[in-house]
Symmetry: C4
Subunit: 358 residues, 4 copies
């Protein structure tokens, strides 16, 4: 717990229901909603629910080792905080609160181009923490490069390029109910662009205004302007994983953007095995989407993930209790992970392997 | 938008709920209902919901090409408007409104023998549009031939022979609630016959009054009296697809009549692969039944369809907003199709193939 | 319609809901209930719902032939009326009404040992009809033989020995709500015994009072005292089907007693294929349990059944409208069967085969 | 029935609903709840519901033999009473009532280290009964050995070591609603320790205070201090079953602690086959979790179990009716087992084999 008194939430369910009452309905719809009919949103979670574990017994689990490394840096557990945008909608301290809680827990926080606080301020809020910077490419590459440069100077230790958002997905719930997103302040500068809405129809057909700015060439350019390791977020196929590995990418996040982009996307857990195959031994693979329990983390690791990202629950925790709320959440998740290790007879996250699954 | 102000519906769900309030309950039951227990109706949609897509990333999707050809004619997107009967029940302008919206969108409209407006008037309503004529064979072939001749003279460019209706299906919802269908005006002439109800029981057993009028021989006869390409609507097996191809049929619509005929019918998406096999390379295969989202179109094309038909949503849109409503619908569907192409890394509908599916 | 005016029910759902209001709750619970948690009851129906048909098109279906033979006798359609007990609970005329409706429809009625009317009176009620007699073996074989003799003399043309009832199943719904069964009059004589309840626990363990009276030896004995063909009702395995065939049994009803005996029983549709295999070419196989639609009949025939039995719907129809109600039901079922034949491109029930299924 | 008048509950559902009203909500939550989201709790039961039986007919089932042996001792049926803790929460007589009912039914009762009555008193309550002692290892081995010694002197005939509880599982329902467990009196001595909560986080990471006290070495130690057969409760894999067999363990209970430990655990019925394989011919395998019906017992035996354990229903019965309530429950279960044997054509539990399953 980094500051304040411990709020004492006992389950993620409590965090979610307190948060639902703490924020305006339009913000809650923005947080909880997904693309289209919200099939991907639901199926991410269902994919975990279908998996069961084979527990081993009578193992000495007196000491349980959760720590791992992410891109060579230590992490107290195989999980990180996802780069959700506009955290100031949930709590006045926004990303600064999240950063303090992540640092207190020894976990990597990933912060969005579309944060409500400037990336430098987030860094200052928790100087001892490890931070990665999530990048939405900008219409002109110099603006992109400038963001990367700011992140590098502020001590962010990796660039997480989101690749599943050449345009925003179509989100029925937001379309019907109105969106709060546009009115949220952009901490990294008012000129920063989110991914384009669209495609836009014209006399010549459909076009995405900045389609050409998010391609494999972008990855090459990005690598050329930073010494930081580059992670691609939103890869879902073996083919793309292999190509990324060939370009020197260091990590891949199997993600469908929390079910907010392509409603017909596969559950991330089902995409994970082929991405692991394509990534090869030198590229770390992470996963986000629907992770809510300690056992989910174990399942993802058993299928080859190095770590998992936590998205919406961090927003719930922020709304429910600010930095102490997020600390509470991270404590619940890591404690349950330790519990699952003990109950499956694994002393360390390194002992998690495919034999735990049917 | 072809006329009036844009109604601004944001989702198909909005169109459906507005339409539900705009028409009498008996009309709504007629539109929404299906055969029997409505298993086929529900399973058409469920079949799409079970499918997921494998998205590719970092493709330059600045320009997105939705256009294709149907029987050699250009179509702005791989979709067409299904020949639903009695559109005047939904809006006073009926098929004329639909025709204007289809023409405005650059899409083929298929119009029913049982339209509420004469086929000539529909043609005049949108002279620039492409139209196909859906044919219910009449008890006597000369009446059938006369309909075909009228369609040909009015610029319809294909004849879509419905083959899944030797008799009407048994529809519990309509049977229990009464039917509006019989009282709807037949624009193509008061003497025009819908498919027979039945079979009818007599002392000699069950018989279908005009069974003999809808056979493969009918297809041969039809081909002999028109220079227009013939499409069969309602084919669901490889065997029938192969036979149709052998008779010079140019297109097949995999359809179970929107779940209104045989309640035990397979979902059309599950029939599609074998029909594609049977059709061979020279016959175009289309599909209707349950298409509601951009991703559904992609899934059908990935399984071999050349285009998909939109049925009930057009009726919702007609009821909710007339021609502008239908234009709104077509805009939502094509925009979402473009969005799905962008999010799966395909620049053109021609790049859709089986590798997009698991 | 054999007597009275046609009641005009349009669906089985209407019959069921009218019946539910027409009889006392305890009778309704007896009719609708099943064994245990009513898993078998529900799964019988679900098994049909999982099956879909491959329709052929453009077949001349002007004349549709539903008639078949059962044990060499003509039947207007491949269906018969199941031997449900105590039909007098549903309508004062009880089995006599059912017999008249069955005869009027040209279908076999099977009547229970536990009818509320004497078997002779049932025969007299519809002298032109074909009837089979359902036999519950009695504690002493002479009583059994006497029943068979009465049936034979009264013109019943087959004996249907129920074999799935060495004891009654345990029925939670009836156990909790009280049972009407015991108080129903036994038309075939007050001394007639239903199958035993039990097993009964004693100091020596569990025993079924009359276990020894229902064995393969019973079948031999039965065959020795009657010239009528013997049918076994309640066979569910290939092994038992083969043994029955070896003993000269002429027909088998794949049945789980409408889900009233063994709650963990397979759906009858899933047992059908192995029973057909075991029965061989000389033994007819029928099925009951969950048949509610014309397509269900086609599915069962496609899997090898010669005919199907209708159980609870006959009771609904009796309660809702007496003999005219049952006639109405049989008309709905056969008309829908004819409709499904037309819609799947089959001119006769003899053309139903496995190619109709996936 | 061992004492009092028979309460006459007719189904387990009646026992459950009476019990729900008889105890305080916090006790009911403790009894009914499970780990996490209660996936394992629900799936144990669902696994039985997915299984169906192949019934044989025309077998002479006049006498039905339910008796078997457990570790060489006679048991009236292939079932035993699970060692649920703190039975005094449900009824003032607690485990003594259970012991009397078990003895009256000729079944083994397994009693928990965490009983509310001393193990000696439980033995005295039903001196003729067979009892096994469930062991939670204590922080120091001498305390464990002393418990075993007391059980041995009091005539318990086996030691059931629970191995799935190095720590307690995380139970959302209890966490959110408060727990009654801690306040329950420990009959075997106030100093007795339940399994530890945890793991506990410290500066050095997570640790389980007494992890080292529950390992394969514990099994060896236990075997060295008792002549009683040792059974391991909570084994779920072939590997652990094989290792247990190699150490001279005599029985294994496939269990996930009634869904109260690892929420992601497999249903016990799905773990059973591999444990049977690993156990080999000399080690008896039992199963608990979700057994509620006679058919469930048959299914478990058909998959290789020697007997099944009944957990929560015993608590319902205790709360609903004390010892007579439990006797009522055991009568319902064994009577239904006998009924299922009769209806599947098996004269004895020894005739249950894999051919009963699909």
């Amino acid at each position: 717990m980094t500051d304040g008194s411990a709020p004492g939430f006992r389950t993620l369910g409590e965090l979610e229901s307190v948060a639902a009452r703490a924020v305006p309905p339009s913000v809650w719809a923005y947080v909880q909603g997904g693309a289209g009919e919200e099939r991907a949103l639901a199926s991410n979670r269902e994919a975990f629910r279908r998996r069961t574990l084979r527990p081993r017994v009578l193992v000495d689990v007196e000491r349980l080792e959760l720590s791992t490394t992410l891109l060579g840096e230590p992490s107290a557990a195989p999980l990180f905080l996802c780069p959700t945008a506009y955290q100031g909608l949930l709590h006045p301290e926004g990303e600064c609160a999240t950063a303090r809680a992540a640092a207190g827990a020894g976990l990597v926080g990933v912060f969005s181009t579309l944060s409500t606080r400037p990336l430098e301020e987030i860094a200052t809020a928790a100087p001892s923490g490890r931070r990665w910077f999530q990048l939405y490419v900008q219409p002109e590459f110099p603006a992109t490069a400038q963001l990367v440069d700011r992140a590098e100077r502020s001590g962010y230790s990796a660039i997480v390029l989101t690749v599943d958002t050449p345009v925003f997905g179509i989100r029925d719930r937001q379309a019907e109910g109105g969106s709060v997103e546009a009115s949220a302040a952009r901490g990294n500068g008012p000129g920063l662009q989110p991914p384009p809405r669209g495609p836009v129809r014209s006399a010549q057909g459909f076009s995405v205004p900045r389609g050409g700015t998010l391609t494999w060439e972008t990855v090459r350019q990005l690598r050329s302007v930073t010494r930081l390791p580059v992670v691609l977020k939103g890869v879902a196929t073996e083919e793309d994983a292999r190509r990324a590995a060939g370009l020197g990418v260091r990590g891949l996040v199997v993600s469908n953007h929390g079910g907010r982009q392509l409603d017909a996307a596969r559950p991330t857990l089902e995409s994970l095995p082929e991405v692991v195959r394509g990534a090869g031994p030198d590229v770390e693979v992470y996963l986000d989407g629907g992770v809510r329990r300690g056992a989910d983390i174990v399942v993802a690791l058993a299928l080859g993930a190095k770590a998992v990202g936590i998205g919406r629950p961090v927003l719930w925790a922020l709304a429910a209790g600010g930095a102490p709320g997020v600390a509470n959440l991270l404590d619940l998740l890591t404690t349950e992970l330790a519990n699952v290790l003990a109950l499956t007879g694994r002393r360390s996250v390194r002992e998690i392997d495919g034999s735990m699954l049917d």
